[in-house]
């Protein structure tokens, strides 16, 4: 289970593969191969189509979300559009529109937003890529709605008592994106420079945007 796979701090940008799964043919891996081959035999898909889909997924990274946030910080009209119609805002930036309704929720001095999917793993994949293991873990899904400040603390994130913490539970049809607070001291930053400050975890709401 995901809980067993700890982040290796010595390798900040690479994470270990799940042990015993990339080189061992487990029953479930055999099932994946069998199903994929049967779908290819039946001409429902092709090996090339599967490969292209994997590539497309590899290209969906939190950098997309970071561009959206940086634009919202820089352009008041875009910010308004993002908060009113998240999908239209993504489309306006030339990004994927997303298959499901996107709701952007903005952090302010008074409100800190956090996103979860208690039932499974719904996540704005088109803006952030695939969700990390902890997002899908029992501990996060169970506790972030009942004790969000403690869970934020486990990420090293302390929200002051003068702000409320709102937890948003995603559904199969609706995905949330947190618009973090713009860090101080970033006046005059270009959008691309701002985008570098926007982390995946800040867009899930378990941390803040980076200080420059």
């Amino acid at each position: 289970m995901s809980e067993h796979h700890h982040h290796d701090e010595s390798v900040p940008h690479r994470h270990p593969l799940r042990a015993d799964q990339d080189d061992t043919l487990t029953y479930w891996r055999a099932m994946e191969i069998a199903v994929r081959e049967l779908l290819i035999d039946k001409e429902i898909t092709t090996a090339d189509e599967v490969r292209r889909e994997v590539e497309a997924m590899d290209n969906r990274t939190p950098a997309h979300g970071g561009r959206v946030i940086a634009r919202a910080w820089s352009d008041p009209d875009f910010r308004k559009l993002l908060l009113e119609d998240g999908n239209a805002a993504c489309e306006a930036m030339g990004l994927e529109r997303g298959l499901y309704k996107l709701v952007a929720v903005e952090n302010t001095d008074k409100v800190h937003n956090v996103v979860v999917c208690t039932l499974c793993s719904c996540y704005p994949r088109f803006l952030l890529g695939l969700p990390p293991d902890w997002y899908k873990s029992r501990n996060y899904r169970s506790r972030v709605i009942s004790d969000p400040r403690a869970v934020l603390g486990e990420f090293g994130t302390v929200v002051g008592d003068d702000a409320v913490v709102r937890v948003h539970d995603s559904t199969a049809d609706m995905r949330y994106l947190v618009v973090p607070k713009r860090p101080s001291g970033t006046e005059g930053f270009s959008e691309s420079k701002l985008a570098e400050l926007v982390t995946r975890d800040a867009m899930i709401g378990v941390s803040f945007a980076r200080q420059p």
């Binding site: 690479r14 069998a34 169970s142």
Partner: protein, 105 residues
């Protein structure tokens, strides 16, 4: 423990500390994800079918299986339920794959 909850319905229940765990996805996991996306696009799988099949797993299996193991199980169940793939041909092909065992590629 509320006995009316499905095993997946864990919001608000007691649980341990969150460990910021992650791993780079293995190719087979990405392929499972790709199959889900492709089958959805081809109208052979809905997100509700995927979820219903995941959520019908017993508590023990749900907790023992990894995320993408639950997904390939649910995708396969959906294809069987829809008659796209038969249990027989699936069983035969899995046995072939296991006999071949060339590392999964």
């Amino acid at each position: 423990m509320n006995t009316f909850r499905g095993v997946h319905d864990m919001g608000g229940l007691p649980a341990g500390e969150v460990v910021a765990s992650e791993h780079d996805f293995a190719l087979w996991e990405k392929r499972v994800d790709a199959l889900m996306v492709l089958l959805s696009r081809k109208n052979l799988l809905t997100v509700d079918e995927l979820r219903r099949n995941i959520e019908s797993l017993g508590a023990d299996a749900y907790d023992k299986m990894s995320y993408y193991e639950r997904w390939i199980y649910a995708i396969t169940q959906t294809l069987i339920q829809r008659g796209v793939v038969s249990i027989d041909e699936l069983g035969r092909r899995i046995a072939e794959v296991q006999a071949r065992d060339d590392g999964g590629n």
